[in-house]
């Protein structure tokens, strides 16, 4: 069976495989690669990763479902994970999360109609001294308020448009 991930990312996969005495240990880094390629972990992506790691697709699927950073469904271009855990909440994170959803006109876990932003709340991200904060894809944005957030949303939207126009 064709395995586009194995072909396209042969070097990176090999690099991860070489760290561990067994192939199974590479499942987590490979799920990240699959997510990078397809934007989310589709059933086909799961099968490909399973094949490379010599695992059962069901086992890979259970691992994908166990963690919060693997996308089991398509998300917005900017995946915003707002920490609303206690230290952030003491600094107004619940209100911030609520205002952000209202500003974008979506529900918790929802995605804007243009496919740009998904907002979810998450547990402690180890940045409690810079609350409120969120994780945008793989980077942290800290010491937030709604004014700052609106500027960032505008900036990201423009960046995405510029990127799309450049194609």
């Amino acid at each position: 069976m064709a395995n586009p991930l194995a072909d396209k990312y042969a070097d990176r996969i090999q690099k991860h495989m070489s760290k561990y005495p067994d192939k199974r240990s590479a499942v987590m880094p490979l799920l990240y690669i699959a997510q990078e390629e397809y934007g989310w972990l589709s059933p086909d992506a799961i099968v490909q990763v399973a094949e490379i790691c010599e695992m059962d697709p069901t086992q890979v699927k259970s691992i994908a479902g166990f963690y919060t950073m693997y996308r089991e469904s398509p998300k917005g271009k900017y995946w915003l994970q707002v920490c609303t855990d206690l230290p952030c909440a003491l600094k107004g994170a619940d209100q911030f999360h609520h205002d952000l959803l209202a500003h974008l006109g979506i529900e918790e876990g929802g995605t804007t109609d243009d496919g740009m932003f998904t907002v979810e709340h998450v547990m402690c991200l180890a940045a409690c001294d810079r609350a409120p904060m969120l994780q945008c894809n793989f980077g942290y944005v800290e010491n937030l308020d709604m004014d700052k957030m609106k500027e960032l949303l505008d900036k990201w939207r423009k960046e995405a448009e510029a990127y799309a126009n450049a194609d």
Binding site: V27, P29, C53, Y67, L86, L90, G139, Y140
Partner: protein, 429 residues
């Protein structure tokens, strides 16, 4: 005080290898490889350093559990930092990363490990990629890889990213996750240090980032000198994460036993915003019992033993401050939602217990609870204690029991229209 761990406060740019090397960097490893491995372990034992991840287990003793006769052994650095309110390991890895790498290599040499795996929580994506580059920079100086510093000892250092699961900070769950299994705790014994219990069934030391970052200093100055810092039972310094209602949240590295909660909150962290009063302290994130901010508590010294004397724990020292406006029932709900979300689902008391605690506390918060619901919470939480494979079940139960014990009025304020008037007795009382 000169910092031992947060050295970037004294030496700018110590995150760069040349700066680190110019400031005693890797002198501890040099010293270590000139000694016998068993002598390195003895040095660590003399320091009486206790694990900084939360449990406070003596580090040298942990290292000495590794059977030297086994050919394959591992060191795993626990950089999964996920305890609510904890953000010290992140700062160490961002600002003084080589000290952690050096500490891990000292441990590796002491137990003659074949490889070091640094397990980072997935959210530390950038840090992991930065560490990969730094490991290569260290390799170029013969500090990582084959024949380290010409000692004949070889060891690889790898990073591994988790993907968002608190439970993977529990050492046996972490090992499962690293092996590509579900990140759920293992039945022990065998313990990680034993054959059959560690990574890939090989003897393994799992240490926290801050713990290992102490090792270079201990080797450099000697265990006895290190033990002069702090108290007999709490030697050295501790990086304390302060968050919540303070003017200057952040990490403060303090010599243990020299400062009280009052010093920490009002001097270092700048006091409570808007001149408000302080109501309660969570000294160890979401998993340690809450304490009311009485004079007795505020005058308690920051050590393992002093925190124990006020019925809480120092743990990972993630100190959250709650001002007088906070409804403790709400805080209890936040902590419970955390543990409900993070319960891995393997043990029934934890999986079901966190679910029901959350349901009942929510009911109380909505004003639909009964007086007997407060007793129900105590009952559910008491049935989670000591009944699970890992400590998460206890972590989820203990704080709730303590919130009710210390702040019953916050709970009862929500349950007007009582159906019964029996006084609530907290479990364990």
């Amino acid at each position: 005080m000169t910092h031992i761990i947060l050295r970037e406060k004294d030496v700018p740019n110590i995150r760069e290898l040349d700066v680190y090397l110019a400031n005693e960097g890797f002198d501890g490893l040099k010293k270590a490889v000139s000694m016998k491995p068993s002598e390195v372990i003895d040095e660590m034992k003399r320091s009486n350093l206790r694990g900084r991840g939360g449990a406070g287990f003596p580090t040298g003793i942990k290292w000495s559990f590794i059977p030297q006769s086994e050919p394959v052994k591992y060191v795993v650095v626990n950089a999964d930092e996920s305890e609510t309110g904890t953000f010290k390991d992140r700062q160490i890895m961002e600002n003084n990363p080589y000290q952690m790498i050096e500490g891990a290599l000292i441990c590796a040499y002491a137990i003659q490990a074949t490889a070091v795996y640094i397990y980072l929580r997935g959210e530390f994506w950038d840090i992991a990629h930065d560490l990969d580059e730094r490991i290569e920079a260290a390799r170029a100086q013969n500090l990582v890889g084959d024949d380290i510093l010409g000692s004949g000892y070889s060891c690889e250092v790898y990073t591994h990213l988790g993907a968002g699961a608190y439970i993977c900070g529990e050492e046996s769950a972490l090992l499962n996750s690293l092996e590509g299994l579900l990140g759920q705790p293992r039945v022990r014994p065998p313990f990680p240090a034993q054959k059959g219990g560690g990574l890939y069934k090989e003897p393994t030391v799992v240490n926290n980032v801050e713990t290992l970052a102490n090792a270079p200093y201990i080797l450099r100055v000697g265990g006895e000198k290190f033990a002069e810092l702090g108290t007999q039972q709490s030697t050295g310094t501790k990086v304390i994460c302060v968050s919540g209602h303070v003017n200057k949240p952040g990490n403060y590295e303090l010599e243990m036993g020299k400062h009280t909660f009052r010093d920490l909150i009002f001097e270092m962290a700048g006091g409570i915003p808007d001149g408000k009063g302080i109501k309660a302290i969570l000294p160890s994130g979401g998993s340690g019992p809450i304490v009311p901010a009485t004079d007795e508590v505020l005058d308690t010294k920051l050590t393992y033993e002093d925190c124990q004397s006020i019925d809480t724990i120092l743990g990972s020292a993630s100190v959250m401050i709650l001002d007088e406006t906070v409804d403790i029932t709400w805080a209890a709900s936040k902590m419970t939602k955390f543990f409900k979300h993070e319960s891995c689902g393997k043990c029934t008391p934890c999986r079901e217990g966190t679910f029901w605690l959350d349901k009942v506390i929510d009911r109380i918060l909505r004003g639909e609870g009964k007086r007997s619901d407060v007793e129900l919470i105590n009952n559910v939480a008491a049935n989670m204690q000591g009944t699970t494979l890992c400590a998460l079940g206890d972590f989820a139960a203990n704080p709730i029991l303590a919130t009710i014990r210390h702040f019953p009025e916050d709970f009862y304020a929500h349950v007007d229209g009582d159906d019964e008037k029996a006084p609530v007795k907290a479990a364990g009382d």
